[in-house]
């Protein structure tokens, strides 16, 4: 079957999608967006977290057919998403001219290294909250959504918001630091 939906502000279509396929598989294997990670495939680990119509969900538990006509934001689009939010501009998507002039950002088109980062991504780097990196994309999407909703979170709020994301490296302390840092920078308007 064919699925048309919006990913990171751009209309996308996926063809020959198997009816039992997950959104995660479509993103990774059909649209070339491997940022959302495939680990447990049962909603336990949160490493595939994306925003579906703004709501954080495990993309491994969303059937591809369920996203027809809907909007998805992945970690790849987080920087743009955060920027648009902070600018308060309602326009989403890319104009034709912009699309024609588009080039992969950064020094490495595969990793996006050197590209723009969202505040929460920068905070994760600055606080040393990234080790193996596998859980990071899901944590970034979940943390960014919490800071959008709750700009001044308590430690309990952060733990609650990230309770669906497993990390096996850091012991979570640096992740807590990173989210606190992002919240502090956000409130200072840095």
């Amino acid at each position: 079957m064919r699925i048309d939906f919006t990913v990171n502000g751009r209309p996308q279509e996926a063809d020959d999608v198997w009816e039992g396929e997950s959104l995660l598989y479509v993103l990774r294997e059909r649209l070339g967006l491997p940022g959302s990670k495939n680990a447990c495939e049962q909603g336990e680990c949160g490493s595939c977290t994306v925003r579906l119509d703004g709501v954080p969900v495990c993309s491994c538990l969303v059937a591809a057919g369920q996203v027809q006509g809907r909007e998805v934001v992945t970690v790849e689009g987080l920087a743009d998403f955060a920027e648009q939010r902070s600018c308060g501009t309602g326009t989403r998507g890319t104009s034709l001219d912009e699309a024609k002039g588009w080039q992969a950002e950064g020094t490495d088109s595969q990793t996006g290294e050197g590209g723009e980062l969202s505040p929460v991504q920068q905070a994760f780097i600055d606080a040393g909250a990234v080790q193996c990196g596998f859980c990071t994309p899901g944590l970034l999407v979940a943390a960014d959504e919490m800071l959008e909703r709750n700009p001044d979170p308590t430690d309990a709020d952060i733990r609650e918001a990230l309770s669906g994301n497993l990390c096996r490296c850091t012991g979570y302390e640096k992740i807590m630091d990173a989210v606190r840092l992002a919240a502090a920078r956000q409130s200072e308007g840095v």
Partner: protein, 296 residues
């Protein structure tokens, strides 16, 4: 596999009548796991995300009509006053991501003895509104669970909503697991005080082939509270009454040994949760009475 996308409730009923084997999918938090792990290959998958009224709720005079797909996060956010037991149970479901997708309809459809909503529904009192092209009916929650992962639905029926009695007294919910998030209950317990009818109702999860009520325990407690005039005098429940209630709740269980816990642990834990939730709810009831009397 075929993917059915009904745009309305009527279309969904028609599709289910035509393909009774179609598996409904809403939040996907159970169904997609089974598909991802190749445990299930339904011939038809029927997406209910486009049926908007499944995501709505109405607060009536005596009860709340909760659409089958209203996600747990909305119950926590909007229905804490009307459905405190279910709101507490919702908060114990998995993680924010799962609570944003899963709802009570899915819990009822799967009818796992470990479903988090069941003890709260049993304790509050509820009816499940199901419908097919043949018509609509309401199944009392006590008659809904018929076996391990079995329910009273006919093959052509879909769950439309749950009618849950609004709380008229304190309610509590307790769950045992190895951590706070992402846990399937080792066992769970729900308790609701119904001061209007001077009754107490219970719900037990993961400690029998289906979610159950501890009926003998309820009868004992109702009689003991009546006899001692507790509803009127607002006294602390006698420890011997609480202990007997807890023992009867533990006795209502028919658990198994499995990877999450042993049968004897489950029985013990249900007894502990019964005593605690009774104490907590009764304290709230006494506090509410004191405030009312103080104001009078």
């Amino acid at each position: 596999m075929d993917f059915l996308r009904p745009a309305s409730w009527e279309e969904a009923l028609a599709a289910k009548a035509e393909h009774p084997a179609a598996v409904p999918i809403a939040g996907g938090t159970d169904v997609m796991v089974e598909i991802n792990f190749d445990h299930r290959r339904p011939e038809y998958l029927m997406d209910l995300n486009r049926v908007g009224d499944l995501y709505e709720w109405e607060v009536g005079e005596d009860s709340v009509r909760l659409g089958a797909s209203v996600p747990y996060s909305k119950i926590m956010e909007h229905l804490r006053a009307e459905l405190p037991g279910l709101a507490l149970a919702s908060h114990t479901v998995a993680s924010p991501q799962i609570r944003n997708r899963g709802g009570v309809g899915g819990n009822l459809g799967t009818a796992s003895p470990a479903g988090d909503a069941h003890p709260a529904l049993l304790a509050a009192g509820a009816e499940v509104e199901v419908e097919s092209v043949r018509g609509s009916r309401r199944i009392p929650i006590d008659a809904f669970y018929t076996g391990v992962k079995r329910n009273a639905l006919a093959p052509d029926e879909l769950i439309r909503a749950v009618h849950i009695k609004k709380a008229e007294g304190p309610q509590q919910y307790s769950k045992v697991g190895t951590r706070n998030a992402m846990v399937i209950a080792v066992c769970a317990f729900g308790l609701a005080l119904h001061p209007g009818t001077r009754t107490v109702r219970t719900g037990i999860g993961s400690a029998a082939p289906t979610p159950i009520r501890a009926q003998a325990a309820e009868e004992f407690l109702n009689a003991a509270l009546e006899e001692g005039g507790f509803w009127d005098n607002g006294k602390i429940i006698t420890p011997s009454v609480a202990k007997r209630f807890a023992d009867l709740c533990a006795g209502a269980c028919n658990p198994i040994d499995d990877v999450r816990g042993t049968a004897s642990y489950r029985r013990h834990a249900v007894g502990v949760m019964a005593r605690r939730t009774l104490t907590w709810t009764w304290e709230s009831y006494r506090d509410a009475r004191r405030i009312t009397e103080g104001a009078a």
